[in-house]
């Protein structure tokens, strides 16, 4: 594996390209809005007042920095490398999503937009957007697939409680992909007064770049904290990848370090079945939601349905920077199945008293396989991107029905 690479500083280029990936494949109606967003973002991040306002909110409102925790019992149970957890699950609203939603929400306000829209899969980004809208006094609509509304009832209720309107996406596969289509269609229609808060490092430029910039605080804190705790950088950093925002935010500050980076996709029922969301592992380059990236598609370019037990990983595309990092070899992308994620989730519950989100459980599951193969002197950091409260209904159904992994220990 490549330890160091010197080329990443240049991405994205001015056209929003990460190597051949990225770009702006959107209807002409949106092009001016993207240009406007690009300059507004550039101005904002170079304005000390914006930076300090965001910093203030992240600290006093969201509760950052989130802890970096040495998971000793999990480490013991696996009998290999030392495992540390970056506790994004302790961020306000229960996931890393708020980091980005706060950034974009502040930007929306700065641009004079009164209305924000968002798409959501698991509901975490929807909840984060609804939260930010409430905090900043903006009107918020969240597009969510009908299928996901069923799977994530609790988050739907939370969004409504926070004053957001949840709009079901009833087209296509009725999951995150279609919620994003509907959000884009709404944006095309109301582009003058609406700010679209995209929840991951996906979509047309400048979104993948902007979201990475708002999420890189995860990796920056981790870097500082691990240096403080053990006096050196970790050997490996692991994060789950759906669209890939927690992973991008975690990886980016380590890109030029001698640290192995590993992204974990959802293999669903298995890579040999047609029910998975392993875009980087099994997809081919194509265009989805405005970006050229790896994509699950048929030979004619029709987008295929993704599957994962985790609604947040259930996406047939992936951020274009991940596509680039896969091709350059800087990041290694693996995948774990629904069952492996469920088992890892229970292991973390019982060894550490932490119920992770099903998404984050995929990163844990990869480490369950990886840690025992490494010596005790090595250090792995897992980005624990979110907490599992939203998943308890899914877990109840799955674990009661299948007895998956059992309940005793």
């Amino acid at each position: 594996m490549t330890g160091r690479a010197g080329t990443e500083t240049s991405v994205p280029d001015s056209a929003g390209r990460y190597g051949r990936f990225g770009g702006k494949y959107v209807p002409e109606t949106l092009m001016s809005a993207l240009t406007e967003l690009e300059s507004a973002f550039a101005e904002a991040v170079s304005d000390p007042q914006f930076v300090s306002e965001l910093h203030h909110l992240l600290q006093r409102y969201a509760g950052r920095p989130t802890p970096l925790y040495h998971a000793r019992r999990l480490t013991e149970a696996l009998g290999g490398a030392q495992i540390y957890l970056k506790r994004e699950d302790l961020n306000h609203t229960g996931a890393h999503k708020l980091n980005n939603a706060l950034g974009q929400g502040l930007l929306a306000k700065r641009m004079g937009k009164k209305k924000v829209i968002a798409e959501t899969g698991a509901g975490q980004h929807g909840v984060a957007s609804a939260t930010v809208a409430a905090q900043l006094g903006l009107e918020c609509k969240v597009f969510m697939g009908e299928e996901d509304i069923k799977r994530q009832e609790l988050n739907v209720f939370r969004m409504r409680l926070l004053g957001a309107e949840v709009i079901p996406a009833t087209t296509g596969t009725r999951t995150l992909k279609d919620a994003t289509n509907e959000a884009i269609r709404y944006w095309v229609t109301n582009v003058d007064e609406t700010f679209y808060i995209i929840g991951s490092v996906v979509g047309p430029h400048p979104y993948p770049y902007m979201v990475r910039e708002f999420q890189k605080i995860i990796g920056e804190e981790t870097r500082e904290q691990i240096l403080e705790q053990i006096g050196r950088l970790p050997d490996e950093v692991v994060a789950c990848v759906g669209g890939g925002s927690n992973a991008m935010g975690m990886f980016y500050p380590f890109i030029h370090d001698d640290v192995r980076l590993r992204g974990v996709e959802a293999a669903g029922h298995g890579l040999s079945t047609d029910k998975h969301a392993a875009t980087l592992t099994l997809g081919r380059p194509g265009v989805i939601h405005g970006a050229l990236t790896y994509l699950l598609q048929d030979e004619y370019g029709q987008v295929q349905e993704a599957h994962s037990i985790s609604a947040g990983l259930d996406y047939p595309g992936v951020g274009p920077e991940h596509a680039y990092l896969k091709d350059t070899g800087r990041v290694h992308y693996a995948s774990v199945t629904d069952s492996e994620a469920l088992e890892a989730l229970q292991l973390l519950c019982r060894t550490e008293g932490i119920i992770p989100a099903l998404e984050s459980a995929h990163a844990v599951a990869e480490v369950v396989k990886l840690a025992p193969t490494l010596p005790k002197e090595q250090v792995i950091v897992i980005c624990l991107s979110g907490r599992g409260d939203k998943d308890v209904a899914t877990l109840q159904t799955r674990l009661d029905a299948g007895g998956q992994g059992g309940t005793g220990a």
Partner: protein
């Protein structure tokens, strides 16, 4: 201007003549019925036809064309089939310009160069790719020029300072999006349409086609006062949808096609 000359340029050679441009989702409800519907569009007064390639994620389309895409995909329609339909139409003596309307991903998977070459061989005249803006279209533009096809650009009410560069590159005709939003009928025309079209006109030498939200003879007449071409998509696709019970049965398909043709005539006759 690209220097490409084909049936589209011939059609618009007499600028004072207004042209009716219907859109159809190819393969809705089946390929065979689509071909018959296209003939009906021509008999009903079509001067140029946009043949839509069904797509799983039609971002720029409203619910009517989304549903048509789903039906066509369920019937097994691929981009290859749409090319074959164009060839079949030419073989049966159709002489009006035919333009492929497709999202970019199917083009990319087919191979940009290969698709444009094949489209030209089959008898197509142009291609519209709604999610391929100016900044991303170099490869497609080169392939279009190389194969004597027009890459039809789109310009929107939000294009603003972009109008000049788009207008200068425009080839065949310039597709003017009448209002913000996705395809689909609107109750009225955008009140800023006329100043928008005037601005576009001042930035290009190619004829203007106006689309999005045009569904009645009155709207067709009104738009034609300011543009050479009037594009109607969702309204026709909706009429096809309304007549699906007839179109899906062999004994009544003729009757269904006749109804669609009558509807198209009421729109196209507004230009005569």
């Amino acid at each position: 201007m690209s220097g490409v000359k084909n049936r589209i340029d011939e059609l618009f050679a007499e600028r004072e003549k207004k042209r009716f441009i219907p859109f159809i989702t190819t393969g809705d409800p089946s390929l065979g019925t689509s071909v018959r519907l296209i003939h009906a569009l021509i008999e009903g007064g079509a001067d140029l036809i946009e043949l839509g390639v069904p797509y799983s994620d039609p971002l720029a389309d409203g619910p009517v064309i989304q549903r048509a895409s789903q039906r066509a995909l369920q019937a097994g329609t691929t981009i290859q089939h749409v090319l074959e339909v164009i060839k079949e139409l030419r073989d049966s003596g159709v002489t009006i310009p035919l333009v492929l309307f497709t999202y970019y991903n199917p083009v990319l998977q087919y191979g940009v160069g290969r698709l444009f070459e094949r489209l030209a061989e089959c008898g197509g005249d142009g291609i519209i790719i709604p999610d391929l803006p100016y900044e991303e279209n170099q490869e497609a533009l080169a392939a279009a020029n190389q194969n004597g096809l027009h890459l039809i650009s789109l310009v929107a009410p939000t294009s603003d300072q972009r109008i000049a560069m788009i207008g200068e590159q425009a080839s065949g005709f310039l597709y003017c999006v009448s209002s913000l939003g996705v395809t689909g009928t609107r109750s009225g025309l955008n009140s800023n349409l006329v100043p928008f079209l005037k601005r576009v006109r001042s930035c290009t030498s190619v004829p203007l086609g106006v689309g999005f939200g045009i569904s009645t003879p009155d709207q067709v007449r009104e738009v034609a006062r300011h543009a050479e071409g009037v594009i109607v998509g969702s309204a026709i696709v909706k009429e096809i949808e309304r007549n699906l019970p007839l179109l899906e049965k062999p004994e009544t398909v003729e009757e269904g096609i006749a109804k669609v043709k009558t509807f198209v005539q009421t729109l196209s006759s507004a230009l005569k």
